[in-house]
Amino acid sequence: MADIYDIIIVGGGPGGLSAAIYGSRAKLRTLVIEKGKTGGQAATTWDMENYPGFFAAGEGSTGLTEVTGPGLMEAFTSHAEHFGAQFVRNEVVSIDAAAKTVTGKDGTVYHGRSIILSPGAVPRTLGVKGERALRGKGVSYCATCDADFFSELDIIVVGNGDAAIEEANYLTKFAESVTIIVIHDEGTLDAAPMLQERAYKNPKINFVWNSTIEEIKGDGIVESVVLKNIKTNELTEMETNGVFIYVGTIPQTSFLGDQVELDARGYIETDNCMETSAEGVFAVGDARVTPLRQVITAAADGAVAAVAAEKYLIEEEGFRDTVLMETRPVAVLFWTPMSQKCLAMMPMMEAAVQAFGDSVKLWKLDTYRNQRVAKRYGVSANPTLLVFHNGEMVQLLSEDEITAESITAAIGNLLN
């Protein structure tokens, strides 16, 4: 039998790495499967200036540690390794949510007890003529990777969200001029006001409004773009050395098939504990349906998911092994120490069950620590007594129904 991990994390971006830190620190056997280098998209952003406590390298702010995107992601990785998380390089091609297995491109099957999906997102392409052929020839989706090439050259940036405007500002450290192609009316950008202000003040940045890219042209390397004014449909050709495209991202979730529920755009649906539609399968970071996609939100998702996975393991597996797999009848007593009524009734309930001796098992569960199980079996008040036999609930006694006689009758029926 192959190794069984407590948590298998698919993807090593900030969400997956944070889950690995929390998981391994909780002494859970934690495996991170990453197809390339850890860090995800965060490792492709050089200027990282909104992760709390850190500041972008070279900005010279006092009292804050300077950091870059790749640097912060290396620190996340080392941190997870420090607590004992294991890393393996493989590309995940499918998962089995029920069996908690994950299959890699090379055919390796990883066995887990819970799964945290952190597949992230990749830049969306424009889908225009010339874009594909000229990728790496002046068409880029990663300013950090390629900015060096464009020192003293003229480039354009397509898009107007946070990433587009932030990277346009970064690119002016290298390029002679940066022209941002914006689909909206003059003065309207989707980026945060602080980023907009910085771009408007930057003497190297120009804007072309109401426009999209129709075609990217060049013989071997980018030479020009054809711009289309969406109000007039007028086409104009503009010379440029490079085209940086920031028009959103698409989640990398196609490998999931129908194992977990996705929204119409392919993002993974979760509850506020990061659990997907499949029990014990969690999702974090940019591939999740979430209002904000940042390093800090991915990291927070990872912490929540790892703790939820730990609770899932304790609660679900504990319940399964102790109650569902038991051959004798089991009296499961949901209670809470905060309820005076529970405390008062406890001796009577215990005595009624224990009167059957070894032929019946008594299992007490704190309702607040076992909300998943409580909810599934319809436990709404404390105390509630459930009688299980052969993995099935055969009787539920609500607080008003619990008496020594009703307990004796419920268990007695099973034993006869």
Binding site: K37, A43, R135, C142, C145, D146, D148, F149, F150, I221
Partner: protein
């Protein structure tokens, strides 16, 4: 592995006999860094059939642009002073490099 740069590119790549592979990389390119172990493994496996080189584009920008490399990573294959094939940022992977090597050797 042989590091090529603006001063030895002509001699080591363009004037070289047989198949030459050049890994255009940069220290800020995470995908480049991730592929280096694979490239080194392939260099060890196919070292007798092709010459494997690395080119750090951060100090050789003009050279890279002269070879029409404007984005990373790029794995370029040369023979007889001509670039005969290339795998750019969207195609480069351990599998695609090995497949291209097998095709060209």
């Amino acid at each position: 592995m042989l590091e090529v740069h603006k001063d030895n590119f002509e001699a080591e790549v363009l004037q070289a006999e047989g198949l030459v592979v050049v890994d255009y990389w940069g220290p800020k390119c995470e995908k480049c860094l991730a592929l280096i172990p694979d490239y080194e493994r392939l260099a060890a496996a196919y070292g007798d059939k092709a010459k494997f080189c690395k080119l750090d584009t951060s100090g050789n920008r003009r050279l890279a642009i002269s070879q029409k490399v404007l984005g990373l990573p790029v794995f370029a294959f040369y023979r007889g002073g001509e670039k005969i094939a290339e795998l750019g940022p969207s195609e480069a992977s351990a599998e695609s490099i090995e497949a291209k090597l097998k095709e060209l050797i």
